[in-house]
């Protein structure tokens, strides 16, 4: 996750609206991944807004079609802000550490069950934790800290609301409150320091 720290530091030099292209280029450079393709298919956005896929079988039509094994698939029918956020969150999975990939059928089944109903007895799996981390990583990339502090001050003075902030950042409004949670700094620092 040291590489994510480098991405985070790079994003601090950017200003909203942070370009996905900049985030993507830096992510590929840091992870050594040659390319990642993005495409849109029809997905029911009440169920799934998108997904990240990395595949090994180079003879499979999908891998052949895109000349590489990493793809991000986005739902066709979602607005620009959602598309940006979903793309950025899925891109963060290029930073998944060795234990985090969903690389077996059992882990996949557990991941989907955890998405349906989190277990009350088991510790969260590495896979579901990386899903949650991806959201925070995307937020940190799309909202540089300087902007977050400035917008937070305006928000406190009620000179701007969540919708206005969402428009400035071009992220879904429902994620704006997360930027101003009291534990935001703790969470981001823990991700950067590989504590979680």
């Amino acid at each position: 996750m040291g590489k994510f720290k480098e991405l985070y530091d790079y994003c601090q030099t950017l200003t909203p609206k942070v370009s996905r292209r900049h985030i993507e280029k830096k992510t590929l450079e840091l992870t050594g991944v040659e390319q990642i393709k993005a495409m849109k298919t029809t997905l029911d956005t009440t169920i799934c807004r998108g997904y990240f896929l990395s595949a090994k079988n180079k003879d499979h039509p999908i891998v052949k079609c895109f000349g590489g094994s990493n793809v991000i698939v986005l739902a066709r029918d979602q607005n620009y802000c959602w598309e940006r956020f979903v793309y950025t969150k899925e891109l963060m999975h290029l930073f998944d550490s060795d234990d985090e990939p969903t690389d077996t059928a059992d882990k996949f089944e557990k991941l989907l069950i955890d998405l349906e109903v989190p277990s009350a007895t088991e510790s969260p799996s590495e896979q579901i934790m990386s899903e949650r981390k991806g959201i925070w990583m995307a937020l940190a990339c799309l909202c540089p800290e300087k902007s977050r502090v400035e917008l937070g001050e305006l928000r406190t003075k009620e000179h701007i609301d969540n919708y206005g902030i969402a428009l400035k950042l071009r992220i879904p409004e429902q994620y704006v409150p997360l930027l101003f949670q009291p534990r935001y700094d703790v969470i981001i620092n823990a991700i950067i320091d590989k504590a979680i």
Binding site: K17, S19, R20, R21, E24, K37, A38, M39, K40, T41, T42, L43, D44, T45, T46, I47, C48, R49, G50, Y51, F52, L53, S54, A55, K56, N57, H60, P61, I62, V63, C65, S69, V73, L74, R76, Y80, V86, Y87, K89, E90, H93, D96, E100, P101, T102, D103, T104, A105, F108, E109, L111, L112, I113, L115, E116, Q127, S130, E131, G134, R170
Partner: protein, 66 residues
């Protein structure tokens, strides 16, 4: 477990299919979505890609609204 989930597991992880090394999802707005419903969406999406029913996203050429 559901039919769609079993199908997705084979399509994703069989060595002579995709042989996926990582898959992660962005859930939608329905908090009641089931594992089988997630799997159904993945299956439909993969079928679309396999039959050419997709649009490639090019971040360079896509006009970004101001």
């Amino acid at each position: 477990m559901g039919q769609q989930l079993e199908l997705a597991k084979k399509r994703l992880f069989d060595k002579d299919s995709l042989a996926v090394t990582n898959i992660k999802l962005f859930p939608g707005s329905n908090r009641d979505a089931t594992a089988d419903q997630f799997a159904d969406q993945i299956n439909k999406s993969i079928s679309q890609i396999e039959s050419g029913d997709f649009v490639e996203v090019d971040l360079d050429s896509e006009p970004e609204p101001k």
